[in-house]
Symmetry: C2
Amino acid sequence: MSQLLRVQNFSVSSDGIAAGENQTFENPFGFDHTALFAWAGATASWPNRTEPGGSRGLDDYFTRDFAHNIGAEIMGRNKFGPQRGPWENHDWLGWWGDEPPFHTPVFVLTHHVRPSFTLSDTTFHFVDGEPAAVLEEARKSADGKDVRLGGGVTTIRQFLDADLVDTMHVAVAPVTLGSGLRLWETPDELRDRFELEIVPSASGMTHHLFWRK
Amino acid sequence: MSQLLRVQNFSVSSDGIAAGENQTFENPFGFDHTALFAWAGATASWPNRTEPGGSRGLDDYFTRDFAHNIGAEIMGRNKFGPQRGPWENHDWLGWWGDEPPFHTPVFVLTHHVRPSFTLSDTTFHFVDGEPAAVLEEARKSADGKDVRLGGGVTTIRQFLDADLVDTMHVAVAPVTLGSGLRLWETPDELRDRFELEIVPSASGMTHHLFWRK
């Protein structure tokens, strides 16, 4: 089987918004993102879960799949940190703590490359390149497994525009945000290239599952 | 996390029937089981898939989860073969071919034990014991992972009656069979002990997800 590029557990509002426009160090999403992400944290398999318990219903199948057959992640610089422009220094090692939840090589897209470093079993590489070239590099490092496209929304749009995404799971929250960074006006935009199955969950989220036609 | 006992991808008719009463060598399910299992074979991740392709929608999340964190399987003798009573000989090695899809130790429940054997990376053990004792043995062999309860329906009933099942995914087909071996009269029977989430799929199946309260 080929190595897929997969978007997983990406949450947006009912009007397609995934993040605010004013991302800061204190506020990584640029808005109150509780309504978008509470569904994932409630599941037994959420990677950041620290206490036992959690649901094992439909939503759990999605969080359970987070690391399944994933050998690398690609993320935008804004998912790594709030800095813009040249790095003032390399002291800060990202939002993900000493035990990042990735456990694979992670390729951070940036025009301002810096040396790779490793935290626990996650190595962050900083790469400046076109999506296709970065994907090729990530695939080589993924040990034959799939590559996760981790977001944020601008990065996902970039890879969708380059037609590099193979499967995409987007969880749509029952909340309207009005303004912010948008994944889509409507998921129907993607129907020309993707099959789309829409599955409502007891949590109130509506899971959108895309795979290439 | 503890080692769960999980039922996965178990299919029944809308009236709860999982197999016919006249299982034979030529007819392992005792009836035409196409209506119960077509959903799984149509997915990209079905373990027995030999050609590329297949859907990557909701149903695929269930087949994809088949081997995820599973370290052993328990199955009834009827899932291994159609023989009843003492083995006439040990020549026949089960319905699963030279490359069984389990890739773990498999514990076959039988009152007629026979020597263990290995096909590819699956080892079949034959055990005569109460469900709790067999589960303990399977857990020890599972390398810290979960144990799959593979069926058939009589075996699942036995472990449900002993209150040993932690999670259960049952796919209910839009077909009525009338007679045969029954998992339940209605899934509501299990609501006293389990949370139940019911999820319709585009394939026409209705996925029933149970987890302990």
